[in-house]
Symmetry: C2
Subunit: 484 residues, 2 copies
């Protein structure tokens, strides 16, 4: 049957015989973005239906570490004795999410960050009022509530925005994304919102005026159509598990390995593009090298394949990931003397160990003399407590003089760098999906990693959950017609 | 009037009252891609109409240096005494156009490169049978026909593909793109193809089945519709002059300055996306730092802002551009002693001049001791004729020991790096525009920089003209129905 479109992913309403279900707002995907969209659409008075492709909801959010990036003086920040401002939060985020961060989204988020924290607490999301100093870990191993989860204390960020801890961890020992999703899905149910599971979106329905009016799903091998009288909200995640899409939009990420769920096949993005949506920053990814566990390993000296330093060791793991992967061809070692060395918690092997720097350099196959020069320069300045090259924070500066000298292997070929995608559908601050001409596509909304959001080009822990929930809520209200 | 689409860029045929003109194949844009598409569509028997937005044709191709990248043993290569193979050509191009080069397009091009050269000659494009050694220049200042225009002789490319000169320069003293376009437009006219100038494409016409059947143009402030019975071929160039598009798709390129024409506003790409086309590699750009004029400057030593070497000096200028811009934050100097120094032909200023290396380092504000270490390592190996760090070709290796020492300023803030965009509509090898689901959009074709072509992610001089003309020809034949 000819669809009247260039792609088989779309159907005109006059080609749809039967509608299996009907709601005012249809939310596709029950991760944190979808749950928040559904809750807020319902509370704005809309009849809401959630379509989840898997047997149970949760999405990638349930697999996450359960951190929110929030600032401006939230209840948790205040309880832990920290001051913060919306301005400092926005200034930091614009720097961390660039180049070319979405200033409008960040400003709106920063201004409403305190209220968003309160909303999460009201829903029942637990945060323990305790602060874990950054010296312990960036991803807290325990159940502490507040921590630093970015580069706030590192150069050059600390010079541009007053640092404050903004990582708000959902309370649970270790990863707590599943706790968050248990709470949010419980709220969805309490609101009386219907959830249809194992309902896999395949197509969109378009009316004669070009408006998105429904979703075609596959269920038990058959196609069914679900009508959306006010709007469809896509919350289907990124495309890190679709290697064809990576090859087309983000070929350098093919070297890395995707984290998240295999359901992240980018179909939501492709369906948006099918109706003429803009997809932006499709090459952007968050590449992580979480080597600094325990945090004391930050005392080490990062070197590239030529034995040279190239970055301060105390920045956030995705800044390292970006630089290791895109600037150093994935060839990096962390060098420490015996005083500073600890066994890494993650599976980074030891690449070399020797009683002399020259011996270590030889084991690593570095150019003769280079590591010696690098450590000589480092030690000379470190003895004065300085890092004139990269301005590592004082607390991590220490000479490396006590043998044996070790190199931890951070090469990509030894430890494939994990990543997830950041690019996606272009949306306005109400989650409306836009065309390349900045026109609103009537009836189509998106939130979370199916869209390009707060972490447009760079990332810090917690920014995706904050983006998903804050803009998921707004997309839900907008789809219900309660937000201009 | 509601268009029935999410975007105002599209019109249903039933909303179009009058067709101002009609052809079987409508080619939009009279650069080299458009000219070749028109010629081949006509020769395949189609009635062809060319729409050119400007008063006269030529496009960016007419502004170009007039080089083709061709290999496999062309008439010109043979006349100049060089052997080459399609395999070596393809192997080199896949390496130079990656990561993730389009292997299918490159293989097809390399296999047909000799015939494509013959075709160009048959049309009357002049190539002088003379070879200019790479020691003279990469962009030949004279009218010589053959030269090296890439990194063929440089490490690591030379180890992966047998080098051959593949830059085929249209004969003329200096830039010769306008000669090429004079010839091609003359052929278009000789074939009896109608050219309508100052006809600016604004919209596409779509029939009930979703097929592209025409173009809406603006002429003298009024809208007119041109029917395309078999197909529309978009040859409208890239988007380097559209800063909004750069911000959305390629934010890092905002720091560079666009070369080409202001007509490169990306509208062709946006119109393709409006009908659901895939747009890929939208972040890719060719960034150039053409410092090695005269070529003898390659003898110098490139250093970053920390006084370290980071790449061999003899690679192609867009490899340098990529690395300077994306890996070194645009902070690079070229250091030479008095023996190797020549005044650069382009406007790169002298950043420092001193009788000692330490004096020069101080002028540049480099970390103490770093440049001394770098030159000590360089000179020690250069005395043996070696570059163990980056494997610069032997002919350029010379110690730098004779004062005064100079640094040429290659910083981006001093000399904004020129660029053009490489991302665009996804096409198959027949120029058919594809959706994200790899479906063919009936009636829509594209060639040249409006599409993602041979230079998918990397670039060498001549690759764009080759891509434009080779795949422009194929798109024209396909639109005429003469190519499966």
């Amino acid at each position: 049957m000819p669809s009247g479109f260039a792609t088989n992913r779309l159907r005109r309403t006059d080609q749809i015989d039967t509608w299996a279900a009907r709601a005012e707002v249809v939310v596709v995907g029950l991760g944190s973005a979808g749950a928040c969209a559904a809750i807020e659409a319902r509370r704005a008075g809309a009849r809401v239906l959630v379509l989840e492709g898997q047997a149970r909801g949760g999405g990638v959010s349930a697999e996450s570490s359960g951190q929110f990036y929030l600032g401006g003086g939230t209840g948790l920040q205040t309880a832990c004795g920290f001051e913060d401002s919306a301005e400092a939060t926005a200034a930091y985020m614009k720097m961390a999410c660039g180049p070319g961060a979405d200033a409008e989204k960040i400003d709106l988020f920063a201004k409403n960050s305190v209220l968003h924290y309160d909303w999460l607490v009201e829903q029942g999301v637990p945060f323990k009022p305790s602060f874990l100093p950054t010296t312990e870990a960036t991803n807290p191993p325990g159940d502490d509530g507040l921590t630093f989860t970015g580069s706030e204390l590192a150069y050059p960020w600390r010079e541009h925005a007053r640092p404050a801890p903004r990582g708000h961890n959902v309370q649970h020992e270790g990863d707590s994304g599943f706790v968050l999703m248990r709470v949010l899905i419980e709220v969805v149910r309490r609101e009386g919102i219907e959830i249809q599971s194992e309902a896999r979106m395949q197509r969109l329905a378009v009316d004669e005026a070009g408006r998105i009016v429904g979703v075609g799903i596959e269920r038990n091998g058959a196609e069914e159509w679900i009508a959306a009288e006010r709007g469809v909200v896509l919350c289907t995640g990124g495309f890190g598990f679709n290697r064809e899409m990576l090859a087309r939009y983000a070929p350098t990420l093919l070297d890395c390995f995707p984290v998240g769920l295999e359901t992240e096949d980018g179909l939501g993005i492709r369906l948006g593009m099918a109706v003429g949506a803009d997809a932006i920053r499709m090459g952007a990814g968050c590449v992580m090298v979480p080597f600094s566990k325990p945090r004391s390993l930050v005392r080490g000296v990062l070197i590239n394949g030529r034995g040279e330093r190239f970055i301060n060791e105390d920045v956030y793991q995705s800044v390292h990931g970006d630089v290791f992967h895109n600037r150093q061809d994935g060839v990096v070692y962390l060098v420490l003397d015996d005083e500073s060395y600890s066994k890494p918690w993650l599976a980074f092997p030891i690449a070399g160990e020797a009683d002399t720097v020259t011996g270590l350099a030889r084991q690593l196959g570095l150019p003769p003399g280079s590591l010696e020069h690098t450590l000589e320069v480092w030690n000379e300045a470190a003895a004065r407590g300085e890092d004139p090259l990269f301005h590592k924070a004082d607390e991590w500066i220490t000479p490396h003089v006590t043998p044996p000298f070790r190199a931890i292997d951070l090469r990509q070929k030894t430890f494939p760098y994990p990543f997830f995608t950041l690019g996606g559908l272009r949306t306005d601050t109400s989650g409306r999906v836009l065309t390349p001409e900045s026109e609103i596509i009537a009836g189509l909304f998106a939130a979370g990693r199916v869209s390009s959001g707060i972490p447009a080009q760079g990332y810090n822990s917690g920014m995706s959950l904050s983006d998903c929930t804050f803009f998921g809520r707004r997309a839900g209200r907008a789809a219900a017609g309660a937000l201009e």
